[in-house]
């Protein structure tokens, strides 16, 4: 256990835990786009910036990305100093120029009083903030089907050769983790399409509802030792089946009681 001060309040935290989680656990709202529990923090969006200092620093302060900063004894944290707010505003202002159509960013910017970017809007902006959440989650899942391509301002997230990614299994993790929702995909008539690649969807044996992509199921069966039957019935039908069985047990128990 370590003791840190957040906005004047002394708080207990676990050593090594990241500042952002502690801040959030105590109900303090700070914006963050690239942070997600499922992936290692990388500090790409810079929005979770806070100010830190220590008693012995003699008034010296610094700004750090809280998602990447492990707590340590005696840390004094301020989450909303004028400097910090200024930093967040600048980032949001820039992001707004980069992705003018992103509702998430518009909302965040509005909260900081920015309704229109003061920079020139990027002409072919596509709402991607280059936070790498998608490539990181794909890597965590053991696929690494997509990556950053190119360099500098032309860098983008894409599959190799801009073609259907051979390592993709249609799990949708990238699209779901994307904070600005820019990765398009569709589920239509038994077919899932993502990154231009098509995947057959498994239909529930009971109700016919589509569940997950066959490649994804195969992958889980192989890597996580999940029995194949598990994917043959959808969650809904599994639940009703369970309810039916429970009902039977209860009925039998009642019979016995009588």
């Amino acid at each position: 256990m370590v003791h840190i001060t957040i906005n004047g309040k002394v708080i207990k935290a676990t050593e090594g835990e990241m500042l952002l989680s502690v801040i959030r656990r105590h109900g303090i709202e700070i914006p963050a786009l690239c942070h997600h529990e499922a992936i290692e923090p990388t500090g790409n969006c810079r929005l979770c910036m806070v100010e830190i200092t220590r008693e012995e620093w003699d008034g010296w302060k610094k700004h750090v990305t809280s998602c990447l900063y492990p707590v340590e004894e005696g840390l004094i944290v301020s989450t909303h100093t004028p400097d910090v707010i200024e930093i967040r505003k600048t980032i949001l202002d820039l992001q707004l120029a980069n992705c003018p159509d992103s509702e998430v960013i518009q909302k965040m910017a509005e909260e900081y009083g920015i309704y229109k970017t003061s920079y020139e809007v990027v002409p072919e902006g596509d709402n991607c903030i280059m936070c790498y959440a998608c490539t990181r989650i794909c890597e965590v899942l053991g696929r690494s089907a997509i990556s950053a391509v190119g360099r500098g301002h032309r860098k983008e997230i894409a599959p190799p050769f801009g073609a259907e990614p051979p390592d993709c299994i249609g799990c949708l993790a990238c699209a779901q983790i994307c904070p600005t929702d820019v990765i398009p995909w569709t589920d239509r008539d038994n077919t899932r399409t993502i990154w231009d690649r098509k995947f057959e969807l498994i239909s529930c044996k009971e109700c016919g509802r589509q569940t997950i992509a066959r490649e994804f199921a195969d992958y889980l069966i192989e890597k996580r030792n999940i029995p194949r039957e598990y994917f043959e019935i959808c969650d809904n039908c599994k639940r009703s089946e369970l309810a039916r069985k429970m009902g039977e047990i209860v009925a039998r128990a009642q019979e016995v009681a009588i």
Partner: protein
């Protein structure tokens, strides 16, 4: 890829430790031998080093030393930095462009020459500068540019 290309590729894999850390070295070797990174070669590299294809492609597109399209046996780099620009780099480039029939970034159809434009190579005192393969030529008179290239 032809059988011969496959053999060359195997040679490259044989010369480098088969581990993800060899990625850049292997790509450099492929670039040197093939004068570009053929698509199949990248797929083979991914398999040989057990690196995801996406990461191989990421590295291949990140470094400007790598090219995904065939480049010439001879790479001509014309400096268009400030000093060279003032000392007539444009005239020099004109000569090369019309002499070889290609623009900067392009390669002659016989895959012999590629012209590239670079910014200041740190040899401003001998501007205009042209680098043919690894050889630096300074104070290049524009009418001699093509001859220097053909001699390479």
């Amino acid at each position: 890829m032809t059988q011969q290309d496959v053999t060359r590729l195997q040679g490259i894999f044989g010369r480098n430790p088969r581990e993800p850390g060899s990625l850049i070295a292997v790509l450099q070797d492929i670039q040197r031998e093939f004068h570009y990174l053929p698509r199949e070669a990248l797929s083979e590299t991914a398999k040989a080093l057990e690196v995801p294809l996406s990461k191989v492609y990421s590295a291949a597109t990140f470094y400007s030393a790598f090219s995904l399209t065939p480049r010439g046996e001879n790479i001509i780099r014309v400096c268009k930095g400030t000093a060279c620009h003032i000392k007539g780099a444009d005239l020099l480039l004109d000569q090369l462009e019309s002499g070889l029939g290609i623009k900067p970034g392009e390669t002659t159809p016989d895959l012999k020459y590629t012209i590239e434009v670079v910014n200041c190579v740190g040899a401003c005192a001998m501007a205009p500068v042209m680098i043919v393969n690894a050889k630096y030529h300074g104070n290049v008179p524009c009418n001699r540019a093509l001859r220097l290239v053909k001699k390479a």
